[in-house]
């Protein structure tokens, strides 16, 4: 027997099946019409209540536009992204070496084992023409525009990815993003909850230990991390045909704290802070100045504080306000012993005889030498504000705009005879518009004023991306950028003041010996005003991703044609100071970056070809012909015609993973760089922890130093072992 359906009135389906009067039918029909969109054929989910919403309570959209990265096909320029996992899988031992994986970038060491990297050369000691950022914080030194890779507070284990925008990027990042931008992005504390420990040890006294602990929760996530980096540097140096030990190691300790407070669903606050402390060794024979009798090691004491407020007002509008303060302190002090005749010569105003050798002078000599201390202490700080706003007017029209302010402060008795400041203010905007599916237009620019030159500069960029398919695009990019001289180039007040002076020269205590008076007066440009450098860059590039059988292939090609004008080149030291806007460069070339991901195999290759022509554009009588050639040559010291890398990562049975990488750069001043790295690692995932053991070998195929003759390694095979555990 059927039961009476007491709920029939609640069901339109059943009600309709019952005997209805026409009026009721009319009402119900109207109701059905009204309701039908919500429960229409489920192949067409309703706009009011879709099928998933019928079945499950809706979840908040987590990966919203505000959190997603821009796809490569829409980026206005070529960008290389190096994932942190790739860095670790290849067994890269130092942060700076990562850049050998970037087409067009070269890496080497100068001075006493000071790493230097550049994109398209043009630099040697100071990497002035790349904008380096760590988590959006400008990270090159304020007054010398140099990047100290040894002290960069970025443990390899915490790198999420490194984005390298190849080509001028001043439109987005301001002046000094001249040749490119490097943005190192560390892992969010949300992604590093738990405990991680690691250690690596190897040839030439290499030691790296790492530890982090943290927690992730909805209101607050945090991480405390520590890293020690130590190396003995190169094994030997050469001087006068003789080999000597080389005091060029480093020993750095980095502590960092990262936190994220989620104040509301729309608002979160990032907090970062860190301290770097250690010693960067400098060699007496290599870098000792004015009769140094001991190694002029540099004691490092850096710290930084950073906060960023992220506000998402809607799915189409978000902005952030970032404030950071960084302090770089370097104490470099050394004892000197200058023989009396040499000192008398200097006091008479003649250029110093810098050809000292250790042991040439000792305190007991007769006549009594000058025994004292000198220093190159410097403290630099940078206060930086940035406000960036992103607004989607429509899905096809996006506007990114913002304001920035920077105060660079430098304090050094030696380099600046006290303290000075530079101020920079900027406004930037970029509009991205996709009028059709097959094209995306970008137009933007940056207006910036700086007290370094007391001028304002506009750096524009326009780009058109023709989207061939969802994952293929051809880009045409035109950009302009400037680099302003740094504080030391522009406003040096360089001198040395002896301290702790022994008798009979105690009267010299605190007396200033001005470098301006010491340098060769026939070529000196000391104190002369410099103008900004300019670059005009044109790029045609292609990006594509495809499936080839069972492999994912990515390919990026870049052709570039750059005109660099008013480039600052010359020599800065205690004997010569001739720098000026005196070189022009034209460069063109192409770069390839490709990868193939098979089931157990990953292949990655890069290649760059650079053709660079430079010529002297300074005053014809300012330098002799040799020096004119020399200043042009100086800008090409890191420019290599061919460079590239090839990597092969293979998953093997027994949880083993192997990696083989070949790097080459052909060629630097002395020789080409060629090195093959091999790594075998075993990762075990236990129930409560995972650990990894690895062995890496670096094999130098070319055993000649590529740039500095002092960079000598005794064994062309270098070995490293690693162990890491995560709970």
């Amino acid at each position: 027997m059927p039961v009476t359906n007491r709920l029939a009135k609640t069901s339109s389906v059943n009600l309709i099946r019952h005997n209805l009067c026409p009026l009721n039918a009319l009402i119900l029909a109207s109701a059905w019409l009204f309701l039908s969109p919500a429960i229409a054929d489920d192949s067409e989910p309703s706009s009011q209540l879709s099928e998933p919403e019928l079945l499950e309570p809706p979840l908040p959209e987590v990966l919203t536009t505000t959190r997603l990265r821009q796809p490569k096909s829409k980026v206005p320029g070529t960008t290389t992204i190096i994932e942190g996992d790739l860095i670790r899988d290849l067994g890269v031992m130092n942060l700076v070496e990562v850049f050998r994986l970037v087409p067009g970038m070269t890496v080497t060491e100068v001075g006493s084992n000071n790493p230097v990297t550049s994109y398209h050369g043009t630099v040697h000691y100071e990497q002035r023409r790349l904008q380096i950022q760590v988590d959006g914080r400008t990270s090159y030194r304020a007054s010398l525009s140099d990047t100290d890779w040894h002290t960069m507070p970025v443990p390899l284990e915490l790198i999420e990815r490194i984005e390298v925008s190849r080509g001028p990027n001043s439109a987005a990042h301001g002046i000094n993003a001249f040749l490119g931008t490097v943005n190192i992005i560390t892992r969010s504390p949300d992604d590093t909850a738990g405990v991680q420990l690691g250690a690596a040890s190897g040839s030439r006294g290499y030691l790296r230990t790492f530890g982090s602990v943290g927690s992730a929760s909805e209101p607050y996530s945090w991480r405390l991390a520590y890293e020690k980096r130590r190396s003995d540097g190169f094994d030997r140096q050469v001087d006068g045909g003789q080999l000597y030990p080389f005091n060029d190691g480093y020993n750095m300790n980095t502590f960092s704290y990262d936190g994220i407070a989620r104040l509301t669903d729309q608002l979160n606050l990032e907090l970062r802070g860190g301290v770097v402390d250690g010693i960067n060794e400098e060699d007496l024979r290599k870098n000792g100045k004015f009769g140094a009798t001991d190694d002029p090691n540099i004691i490092v004491d850096d710290y930084y504080l950073q906060t960023r407020l992220n506000v998402t007002t809607s799915n189409t509008h978000f902005y952030h306000l970032q404030v950071s303060y960084q302090n770089y302190q370097r104490r470099q002090r050394w004892p000197i012993c200058i023989p009396a005749p040499v000192l008398d010569n200097m006091i008479a105003g003649n250029p110093p005889d810098s050809d000292f050798d250790p042991g040439d002078c000792s305190p007991g000599d007769t006549p009594a030498p000058l025994v004292a201390n000198l220093n190159e202490d410097i403290e630099e700080s940078r206060l930086e504000f940035e406000l960036q706003d992103t607004l989607y007017f429509r899905p096809d029209l996006k506007l990114v705009s913002g304001l920035g302010y920077r105060r660079d402060t430098f304090r050094s008795e030696t380099f600046f005879n006290g303290r000075g400041n530079n101020y920079q203010s900027r406004a930037f905007v970029n509009a991205e518009y996709s009028p059709f599916e097959w094209v995306t237009l970008n137009a933007g620019g940056n207006w910036e004023t700086t007290t370094t030159t007391d001028e304002g500069y506009f750096s524009p960029r326009v780009a058109t991306n023709f989207i061939i398919s969802e994952n293929q695009a051809i880009r045409f990019v035109y950009s302009e950028a400037v680099r302003t001289p740094d504080a030391f180039e522009q406003t040096p007040d360089w001198s040395y003041r002896p301290s702790n002076v022994r008798a009979p020269y105690t009267a010299l205590e605190g007396r200033r010996f001005r470098v301006e008076d010491l340098v060769d007066p026939t070529t000196s440009t000391f104190g002369q005003e410099l103008e900004e450098e300019r670059i005009v860059s044109r790029e045609v590039s292609y990006f594509g991703q495809f499936y080839m059988s069972h492999a994912l292939m990515s390919l990026e090609l870049r052709y570039f044609n750059d005109e660099l004008r008013d480039m600052i080149s010359g020599v800065i030291n205690e004997e010569d100071w001739f720098i000026a806007n005196n070189v022009a460069l034209d460069q063109e070339g192409f770069e390839v970056e490709g990868s193939l991901d098979y089931a157990h195999t990953k292949l990655r290759a890069t290649y760059a070809y650079l053709d660079q022509d430079g010529w002297y554009t300074g005053q014809p009588d300012a330098l002799n012909a040799d020096d004119q050639d020399y200043v042009v040559e100086l800008l090409g010291r890191l420019s290599v015609r061919h460079s590239g890398s090839f990597s092969w990562i293979q998953k093997l049975p027994f949880n083993l993973t192997s990696a083989a990488t070949f790097y080459w750069a052909d060629e630097f001043r002395r020789s080409q760089f060629e090195r093959a790295d091999f790594r075998i690692a075993r990762r075990i995932d236990a129930s409560r922890y995972s650990y990894e053991l690895a062995l890496t070998m670096q094999h130098y195929l070319n055993r000649d130093p590529e740039l500095s003759p002092d960079n000598l390694i005794s064994d062309h095979n270098q070995f490293f072992v690693e162990a890491g555990v995560r709970f």
């Binding site: 039961v3 309709i16 192949s43 796809p71 996992d85 992604d191 738990g194 995932d685 129930s687």
Partner: protein, 326 residues
Amino acid sequence: MKPDKHTKQDFPSALSYTGVWLVGFLLCLMTLPHSVFAQDDVPRTTIYVAGPENNPTLTQHMTGLLAKALGQGVSLRPFESGQTSQDSDSLAITLGPEAFTQVRQESRSVPILALMVDSAFIEGYFGRSEGRVGAVLYSPPLIRQVAAGKAILPHATHVAMLATPESVELYEGLMDQLADLGMEGRVFIVSQNDNLIPTLIRALGYGDFLLAAPDSDIYNPRTIKHVLLTTYRRNRIVIGPSRAYVRAGALASNYAPLKNIADEAAQQVAGYQQAGRFPAPSYPDTFKLEINRQVARSLNIPLPTEEELRAAIELRLSSLRESNDE
């Protein structure tokens, strides 16, 4: 089940009614399903539909789909508490575990076709019911989700899974099947809530993608934000567990449209009417794939069309079936 006879409804004469009635009649003609009119002369079987109390819209929607799928010979009526004391022979269709439990608690002898339940939930009941409990499973088979992940990332070789000690069984049957897809898998156990992210990080270090089963201890509105963001920032993707999660940021999930579930339910009802017992719980014949293309684009993952992906999934699964048959 017993036929339910309805008296024939007299057709009103248009001449004897006002224009309002005529309009009402025409609207009925335009809007009401054909089956509603065609039913009157046919002996009809009553099937009761029990849905979740807190989701009457779903019950209403599913009732409509079932009415279409079951055709004219069936009258659907809402299940009501206490009715099994009067009629314990008519079939009940339940929507979700809650409704199933409600009906089952009232009478263990009522034949029930359970919809929107998972295999883990219904298998015990099916085994004990001697054919009086059947089911159309709702969540897609995990191996199908893995096949989707493999279709999206053909180079993937390792699949990572997260589970609590209580839910690890969800993945039990999957592990043996992975090798046939050329995959290896590992379940990472989250022993406490605090360990979710650390365990996830280890899992992402292992897997090319994260396979998410319907496990509310791991994947719920409270945890999904952390899971999705951490996975995204580590350049990994999440496959599953459902369409709602894809909308939140998972890359893809198979799903059975409700219409397909209703069609499968109709087949099972027909089978029950003929054989007097339900077959083993089964999945609908066809699945669709929900994809979050925005996330894929952002991760620079080239995606074929949904049709191509579904074809790739079916190809992998058919080769899997063939190898199992052999």
